[in-house]
Amino acid sequence: PPLRPTPSPFPPLHVYLLLKVVDHYENPRNVGSLDKNKKDVGTGLVGAPACGDVMKLQIQVDGNGKIVDAKFKTFGCGSAIASSSLATEWVKGKSIDEALQIKNTDIAKELSLPPVKLHCSMLAEDAIKAALSDYRLKQEDKKKSANTSS
């Protein structure tokens, strides 16, 4: 007679997948703020109109163009918080060009986001890009003022 599969005493796989998101939600890494007036800090501020989430992501870049610190503050659903938390983890230690390569699909895959929450990973990618472009603008301003003064 065919063996009946023994019922597993543990919850099904999708609960384990949720644990990653729950982990980021309950123990978010890199929550906080950097001084946005500093010249080496880039601030990205994005909002999602459909769900009303707001996300702020800040990066601190050293002289070699490497991101040494990142902080975020997100007000929204657990997936948005997890996406931005993961984003700050990933950008740390990367160069600016490497950070530009981070795609929302990578974030969504890492967190196993369901289709309805994919826009949260999109928001995180846009926040990274906004922070990087803000930093670049600041660097260009710095160069301009250096040129005019010299």
Binding site: S8, F10, Y16, L19, D23, N27, L45, V46, G47, A48, P49, A50, C51, G52, D53, V54, K56, K73, F75, G76, H119, M122, L123, D126
Partner: protein, 308 residues
């Protein structure tokens, strides 16, 4: 009121949606008065198979092909006694009193018998809702046929949905935009000014750091004020048919509505904390235990999967 042209376009779109074949349309017979049909068929006289009038294209076998443009909906018949249903929307047949299935494409405003405007009398809405549910609720149909029970379920659910959508200004405004074919963008807001987002951030942060219920209610009051202000602006924009402006304002409203919701939540949480100071200790007491439990759980789960 909306511009009449907007209304006409949207009503024809809705009417077109009405005739898309689906489960609900199947039991109904879509007919036109026999007089019209016969004059058209005789008028053509060339043996054409299709009769075309009022923008409707009917085959002689009675099935409907398409609807190009119409300002009134097709007349529907009761599934039970085949009598014409006069009202839009018809919940019950006038002759045999049987409950009717909901018509697709009927706007929530029609269902709740409200004017198609942003300003709404919520008292009137509530009265209408209770009045409808008193007759439509499935509890009244437990002794009736399965078909009638199904129809009453869908009607009751639809009325509930219509009520919930029209009750709050935000959902009402968004629904009105949806009827005109506009949706809030799914993606990120690049159009929103950065200082608006910064303001939102500051309010959110202040709410996060609030220690006393008074601080929370102050933020709640400010937000309510902003929402009331936005409601007025949206009403004005919709009156003048400025859908783009209304959409931007409704987006802003969405953010503030989220904050307002959080204020109520935080308020309750802080009040609970204030009345039970022991709860704060409990939170930290169990936090470390929960962390260890989560790690242990993961280890056991992975090893179980490896072993089996």
């Amino acid at each position: 009121m909306f511009h009449v042209s907007c209304l006409r376009v949207s009503s024809s779109l809705r009417a077109a949606r009405c005739l898309v074949p689906n489960r609900h349309a199947a039991p109904k017979a879509v007919t036109c008065s026999r007089h019209c049909m016969s004059t058209c068929l005789h008028g053509k006289g060339t043996g054409q198979r299709d009769a075309n009038f009022g923008g409707l294209v009917y085959r002689t076998d009675g099935s409907v092909l398409s609807r190009s443009c119409s300002t009134s909906r097709a007349k529907l018949n009761c599934w039970n006694c085949q009598q014409l249903l006069h009202r839009t929307p018809s919940f019950f047949c006038d002759s045999c009193k049987a409950v009717q299935p909901p018509e697709d494409g009927t706007s929530y405003f029609k269902i709740m018998d409200c004017d198609y405007t942003f300003t709404l009398d919520t008292q009137k809405l509530q009265t209408r809702y209770l009045q409808l549910q008193r007759t439509l609720h499935p509890d009244n149909f437990t002794q009736k046929s399965v078909k009638e029970q199904e129809y009453s379920e869908s009607q009751s659910a639809l009325v509930s949905k219509a009520y919930k959508t029209l009750l709050k200004p935000l959902s009402r405004g968004l629904y009105m935009l949806e009827l005109e074919g506009m949706h809030l963008k799914e993606g990120t807001d690049s159009v929103a000014e950065s200082h608006f987002l910064m303001e939102l951030m500051e309010i959110n942060e202040a709410l996060d750091e609030a220690q006393t219920p008074e601080q929370v209610s102050k933020i709640g009051q400010d937000t309510k004020g902003k929402l009331a202000d936005l409601t007025e602006q949206i009403d004005a924009a919709l009156h003048q048919g400025e859908l783009g402006t209304a959409k931007e304002l409704l987006t802003q409203m969405k953010y503030y509505a989220n904050i307002e919701e959080k204020c109520c939540f935080e308020d309750d949480k802080l009040e609970e904390r204030a009345s039970h100071p022991n709860i704060i200790e409990q939170d930290t007491q169990f936090a470390s235990g929960q962390k260890i439990y989560t790690v242990l759980f993961k280890v056991i789960y992975i090893s179980w999967n490896i072993l089996c």
